[in-house]
Chain length 341, copies 2
């Protein structure tokens, strides 16, 4: 075993142990004296998935403080804050999408109704800010709130463009940069701010997180069209049903011939002209995949994601010391495009 | 005109002018580079109503800083923050209640769909915290977030008790203290903290705001049962439809005879045993009012509100200097129980 591999293993073990602590901080913050609240908050904790955002915080903290052997509490708190913000957006997203399945289980809205899901999302976001204020830094509170402002803007822009088959690539990128990448950027930016590592490194880290976030969302959108539901663990084809045009479809509509374009538009519009019905989604998805393969639109989207990941990695390599944590962040960026769930 | 009346007029004019500034801070914070976001945020500003919560902040600021002739910016910001939190809860409440009408206009969910309403509420709450962080005080951020945690708990407790005809008075008070009174308490508490007026006065002010908030919600619940829709400006009888038992009904169910109790339970349950249908609400409301009058349950609720207002006023008189602002706060408490909308 090389020295590097051994160091990598130590780092991975530290990250695993730190994630356990993050979950503890997360669960502790949500404790209430009301059983009905604890019961519902317990459901939310089933939503923990890959924990990409806490991982970004923890690995960034290790990268900017390479000599610290144990992580400081403030980073564990920040990691729990970003995870809480993220879960709040998932819970409200599922209400917006009327989704039935998430992380291989039923969604809160499906189990307990939209009302409980709206309130649970509010409870999570409120506790995220509450926990954040315990860091004692108005600047960190501002950064987190700025990120959530931006996430909401992205969601609202997406909502305003639903069922628009003429959605263009710049608008698509504006949507996903705001709704997904801004929080990933904040994960690294907040950690940099907490460490006091200086503006240049902080900007590089924010850029890394944001760029990785854009790539992550592109792949998420590709998987919604091509993934295996059992592997991904959530209802697929929802973007078609909800009239959300994503990068592969935007590419296909621009690249294909007129006959194919007309066929695609016909497939994506329902009889009423509004959107695709849940019933037709299955057969439509099969044909859409064929078209996307024919016009190499899935490859186009994946290549965009790959080049974004390369850009994210370059920013890190140019601005951060070569440490096991930096290697881990580089690998994390790669995993965003190779993932199957 | 007595000296006191003249001072009162000066104070009212200052409050009016300050409220204009609060609206300006509010609108400025919500500005986005996206038209679709500004369009939706514009709707939210129609929701400004009596602006009780900003008024609590402004009048409290004047009461604790009686020698200041113009209000400091920090209080205007705090007033905009609490109004933003409040409007966020109204927007989500209307989703929860499926309400059609608010402030004499159509609700956001009715106009633009539940999805836009969920996201607009999130946008408002996110900006409330963002604006709050500009005050530069982690303690203020913590107090606001603690209040919103508590509001959510109140809403979740209410949700868990829907359609429960055995809801008792202590649980009712727990619900309304959390969902409504905690934010009113925070209006005064945050202002006290910003002024540095000292713990004893701060606690008295928090107690005043919280107690006034409980009374306010009792009267809100009475008006839902007895009010005139055109005067109140929102859909009435919604508590019956949504299976929310409020103080007059809790009293009547406990005070009336067995025959009446059975009749009430029959009226409030639908055929399926779940709750009252929208269609039956009108005729049921008429009969429920008769029963509430017969058993003096509306008077019971109003008297509770009056005694709470007296307690709120006493706390102020014992702990604050006699100033025009204190007189205004005493009058504000009285108006909570005499209001018709």
């Amino acid at each position: 075993m090389s020295v590097l591999t051994s160091q990598d293993n130590v780092l991975r073990q530290r990250l695993e142990a730190d994630l356990v602590e993050v979950r503890r901080v997360f669960a502790g913050e949500l404790q209430s004296d009301l059983d009905c609240v604890n019961d519902l908050a317990g459901h939310a904790q089933r939503y923990h998935g890959k924990m990409l955002r806490p991982m970004l915080v923890l690995a960034t903290a290790m990268a900017v403080e390479p000599t610290c052997e144990t992580i400081e509490q403030k980073y564990l708190v920040a990691a729990a804050v970003v995870e809480m913000v993220h879960l709040a957006t998932l819970v409200h997203d599922d209400v917006l999408d009327d989704a039935q399945m998430r992380r291989r289980g039923a969604t809160i809205n499906h189990l307990r109704g939209n009302e409980a899901a709206v309130m649970l999302g509010d409870y999570l976001i409120s506790h995220a800010y509450h926990l954040c204020s315990s860091l004692g830094s108005p600047e960190i509170s501002r950064m987190i709130a700025h990120a959530t402002n931006t996430v909401c803007e992205g969601e609202l822009l997406q909502l305003a463009n639903r069922h628009r088959l003429d959605l263009d690539e710049p608008t698509y990128f504006k949507i996903i940069t705001r709704k997904t990448a801004s929080l990933c950027g904040a994960c690294c930016g907040v950690t940099a701010e907490l460490s006091g590592c200086g503006q240049k490194v902080a900007e590089a880290l924010y850029g890394y997180g944001e760029t990785l976030g854009i790539a992550f969302q592109i792949i998420d959108d590709v998987l919604d069209l091509t993934g295996d539901q059992d592997t991904v663990g959530k209802t697929l084809g929802q973007d078609l049903v909800k009239g959300k045009l994503t990068l592969p479809l935007i590419h296909a509509l621009g690249a294909c011939d007129e006959a194919c374009r007309e066929e695609l538009i016909g497939l994506l519009r329902s009889e009423g002209g509004e959107g695709l019905s849940e019933e037709r989604a299955g057969e439509v998805a099969v044909r859409v995949r064929e078209v996307l393969l024919e016009w190499e639109s899935l490859d186009y989207a994946r290549e965009k994601a790959v080049s974004l990941v390369e850009r994210a990695k370059l920013g890190l390599m140019e601005n951060l010391e070569d440490t096991p944590a930096r290697s881990y962040l580089l690998g994390l960026a790669d995993s965003v495009v190779t993932r199957r769930l």
